[in-house]
């Protein structure tokens, strides 16, 4: 029997607000333990939660960026459970009236066809404190760090539309791109600002029933999500083939052993409307005001890049997948760079160089204006590509204009035929065997000779001119 998978995701995204959700403490969970706390997020007697307007705004923009419908009325509930990571015995979350319903993310399926994956709802909630388990001598101890308590989260719950690990991974990548576009979160699974849990069940292909699902947690990269789902599908298929049934429970992904392992179920209590956080009401006008603040979203931008700059769909999608890269690309063009050159130099030279230097586009000294000036010299044959690469690497450490760097380093391209002729004479006189090879029909020898002449020029010769001169000389 052939099985098909039914997969739904629950994704937690940590909003990049300056403060926590219900107080003014800094939203920096990584700081020294328990630095970012106050009577409100420690829930001392008499304190009142104050819902952060900034968090609500970022959450709402995130919803709109995922095509979800903001609800006119949403409210917080108390998810009641007693655990040391909760200073008040309940977590504030939106269980009954979520901030938004519906929404979708479009991806490309493995066969290249477009696929729409639907979102069920999106709600806000506060994060809980972090428990750190350590040994004090031989005694196991648990420490509580409240820096994370009250950090604003958004949970995205999808429909069970996913059938393959590919769907889940592409969904997460597209979601990450869209959320970065609206500026609500970095969505880094590695840094924990995005966490995905998967609900997975299987059924005979063609069946439309929903069978018992297993929840899998603890995947901290997009690839892990794919691997964990693939593992879980083969595990469940084996269980069913062995004549047993799948049991409802939660499993943890073990990235080292590449398996999912059962975990002890954490007790889940009821959800009761919270009487202290006011109900959130959004008028149609307020929703439209928010919508007007949405940037051009990645899919729309990629289409425009194809139309406007003649990029291939792949190139356009790649550039649009990060708002800063896309923005830099357009600034480069505005500063005078040609479309192809801009695309090529940004993706093959600047981005790898930035990664090597651990810099990012927003803070690099290689501004679009400076890079455009460099590319202009290249187009005008004032320098060759080799020299341009050298100049680029200097531009990271110098604020001089690219033109000045070229002058100072003497990298200006030699196109003067007289100067080049004498270099050619010199090289041909010592490379007689290569000349002979070429004359015997070995075309490769020409490249070798050009390389020798380039070297003799200190990399400054114009390779096009050399090729022309050399071909002329050798064909005599």
């Amino acid at each position: 029997m052939e099985f098909e998978a039914v997969i739904g995701l629950e994704i937690h995204v940590e909003l990049n607000c300056a403060t926590k959700l219900f107080c003014d403490c800094p939203n920096n969970p990584g700081d020294d333990p328990n630095i970012n706390t106050c009577p409100v997020c420690l829930w001392y007697p008499g304190t009142a939660p104050r819902l952060s307007g900034a968090a609500l705004e970022k959450a709402a923009l995130l919803c709109l960026g995922l095509n979800a419908e903001l609800q006119p009325k949403s409210a917080f509930d108390q998810k009641v459970y007693y655990y040391p990571d909760l200073p008040k015995g309940y977590q504030l979350s939106q269980a009954h009236l979520p901030l938004a319903r519906g929404g979708w993310v479009d991806i490309t399926d493995e066969d290249g066809s477009p696929k729409r994956l639907r979102i069920h709802h999106i709600h806000m909630e506060e994060d809980v404190a972090k428990l750190v388990h350590e040994m004090e001598g031989r005694t196991p101890i648990s420490l509580v760090d409240f820096n994370r308590a009250g950090v604003p989260l958004v949970e995205i719950v999808t429909e069970p539309d996913f059938r393959t690990p590919h769907h889940a991974m592409e969904f997460l990548k597209a979601l990450r791109t869209q959320v970065r576009y609206v500026g609500s979160s970095e969505c880094s699974m590695e840094n924990g600002t995005m966490r995905a849990d998967a609900n997975i069940s299987i059924r005979p292909k063609g069946d439309d029933r929903m069978n018992t699902k297993v929840e899998v947690k603890n995947m901290n990269s997009v690839r892990h999500v794919g691997d964990a789902i693939a593992y879980e599908l083969s595990r469940q298929s084996a269980v069913v083939r062995a004549g047993e049934s799948v049991v409802l429970h939660t499993r943890l992904w073990d990235p080292d052993k590449k398996v999912t392992l059962p975990m002890r179920q954490k007790f889940e209590g009821p959800c009761v409307p919270d009487p202290c956080v006011p109900v959130i009401e959004l008028s149609p006008e307020e929703v439209e005001t928010l919508r007007a603040r949405l940037p051009e979203m990645p899919a729309v931008r990629a289409e425009r890049f194809v139309r406007q700059y003649g990029l291939s769909p792949e190139e356009a999608t790649y550039l649009s997948s990060d708002p800063e890269t896309a923005g830099y690309f357009e600034e480069l063009i505005r500063a005078g760079a040609q479309n192809r050159a801009a695309m090529h130099w940004l993706t093959t030279q600047l981005l790898p160089a930035l990664r090597e230097r651990r810099q990012d586009l927003s803070r690099t000294p290689v501004t679009p204006e400076r890079l455009a000036a460099l590319l202009e010299m290249l187009t005008k044959d004032e320098i060759n590509a080799n020299a341009a690469r050298d100049v680029l690497s200097c531009m990271f450490d110098s604020s001089d204009a690219p033109q000045d760097i070229v002058k100072a380093k003497g990298l200006g391209q030699v196109s003067d035929t007289g100067a080049l002729e004498s270099m050619i004479d010199q090289v041909l006189s010592v490379q007689a065997s290569a000349v002979a090879d070429f004359k015997n029909g070995q075309g490769k020898a020409l490249g070798f000779l050009i390389g020798q002449i380039m070297q003799a020029s200190g990399g400054k010769a114009n390779p096009k001119v050399i090729r022309a001169l050399l071909t002329q000389r050798l064909s005599l």
Partner: protein, 399 residues
């Protein structure tokens, strides 16, 4: 003194100038005064000292009042049992007014017992910030004083929106535009269903109190509110659910009584909470947890019924200038620590906590009578106090 205060202001000064200059105010120990114990009558807060002044305390101090001390209170201000000293501070001239939580009618009943005027403002009129509460959607700081005038002065000093508490509605207290009260043009309403639970003698006493109103010139009209009795049921269900969550923060980790010897955190929570909470609160929490975990549907019904009752209340309050309710039934003392006993005590006051109404207890017009309770329209606190003040002046032979 010790039968009144659990903590006395160690450095009583003259107080500053202001609206409340010269007034001495006693507070329930659920209200935070920076650096003072804030035990709210519970061992769950044993040893806890307030970090900051409650919004109410800040305003009292700004207006020149002097805080005389913290009065003995029942646990979390829930109920008025033997250990509660509510009303005694004013009765024994240790304070001009006392501020205490009114969750089901505590401030009103305590005032009645001490022969004082007791006022429960509209829900949300007084900031709750800095008050260790139990039922957020129902509780409000009540005021006990010898005269409605003193109550008005205190309300003027402490009422109004608090921008650090978003749950508080944007209400203001102002009696500047009130016209002189004319009883002959006014109607007080009586809810027929509120009288059905009274014994013959209780009914007699109530009628005698109402007679005082009619002799003053008010006309009396009877109204029917078929669901009146549901107010108490809704209070029981919704109140206990909110309470169960509200005290979830008392876990003996950061403060409060901790039972030693537990093997793990869960045992420590269970044993410490078990040892900290008193019998009445514990019963209430158990009941709330039951509705949360086992009968959520019943809780949802109660919430729905509550919104219906609130609609009823908005309609009723437009049909008379004030409503009159009996104050309480006589309750045998041996049931005061049970939930049944508790709710019997608050049979005729809990509706105001459900609906948000302002309500005021009028001391008995003569010895041996129970007094009565006046209820005004939501947010018409100033009018209700003016009505009380009129009756007060009348009794003193004025007007």
């Amino acid at each position: 003194m010790n039968n009144i205060f659990s903590y006395r202001n160690p450095s009583i000064s003259e107080g500053a100038d202001g609206l409340l200059a010269g007034m001495k105010i006693a507070l329930q120990s659920s209200i935070a005064v920076a650096g003072w114990p804030m035990e709210a009558g519970s061992e769950a807060l044993e040893g806890f000292k307030a970090l900051e002044d409650a919004a109410v305390v800040e305003r009292l101090k700004q207006n020149g009042a002097v805080i005389s001390g913290l009065t003995h209170t029942s646990e979390f201000g829930f109920g008025i049992n033997g250990s509660s000293g509510a009303g005694r501070a004013v009765e024994q001239k240790e304070a001009d007014a006392e501020i205490m939580l009114d969750l089901a009618g505590e401030a009103r009943l305590a005032a009645g017992r001490a022969g004082l005027w007791g006022f429960k403002p509209s829900w949300g009129l007084i900031p709750r910030l800095g008050v260790a509460g139990l039922i957020p959607s129902m509780e409000v700081c009540g005021i006990l004083a010898k005269t409605p005038g003193d109550i008005r002065a205190v309300i003027k000093g402490i009422a109004g929106a608090e921008d650090r508490d978003f749950s508080q509605p944007d209400l203001d207290f102002s009696d500047d535009a009130l016209e002189d009260l004319q009883p002959k043009k006014m109607t007080v309403g009586i809810i027929e269903e509120s009288l059905s639970a009274l014994s013959a003698s209780e009914r007699n006493a109530f009628d005698e109190e109402v007679d005082e109103l009619t002799q003053t010139g008010f006309s009396v009209k009877f109204f029917s509110w078929p669901d009146y009795a549901l107010c108490l049921v809704v209070h029981k269900v919704v109140g206990s659910v909110e309470a169960s969550s509200a005290v979830g923060r008392y876990d003996s980790v950061r403060f409060g009584k901790r039972v030693p010897g537990a093997k793990n955190w869960n045992e420590m929570y269970l044993q410490s909470r078990g040892a900290s909470f008193g019998i009445l609160v514990k019963s209430y929490l158990m009941q709330g947890a039951y509705f949360q975990f086992e009968r959520y549907d019943a809780y949802e019904h109660a919430c729905r019924i509550r919104s219906r009752l609130v609609k009823d209340a908005r309609r009723l309050e437009t049909q008379a200038d004030a409503l009159v309710f009996p104050v309480q039934k006589a309750v045998p003392t041996d049931t005061s620590e049970t939930l049944d006993g508790f709710y019997e005590q608050f049979t005729h006051t809990a509706h105001a906590n459900i609906t948000g109404w302002p309500a005021m207890t009028v001391p008995p017009s003569a010895a041996g009578r129970p007094g009565l309770q006046l209820v005004g329209a939501l947010q018409a606190d100033a009018q209700l106090i003016a009505l009380g003040d009129y009756l007060f002046q009348k009794r003193r032979g004025g007007k």
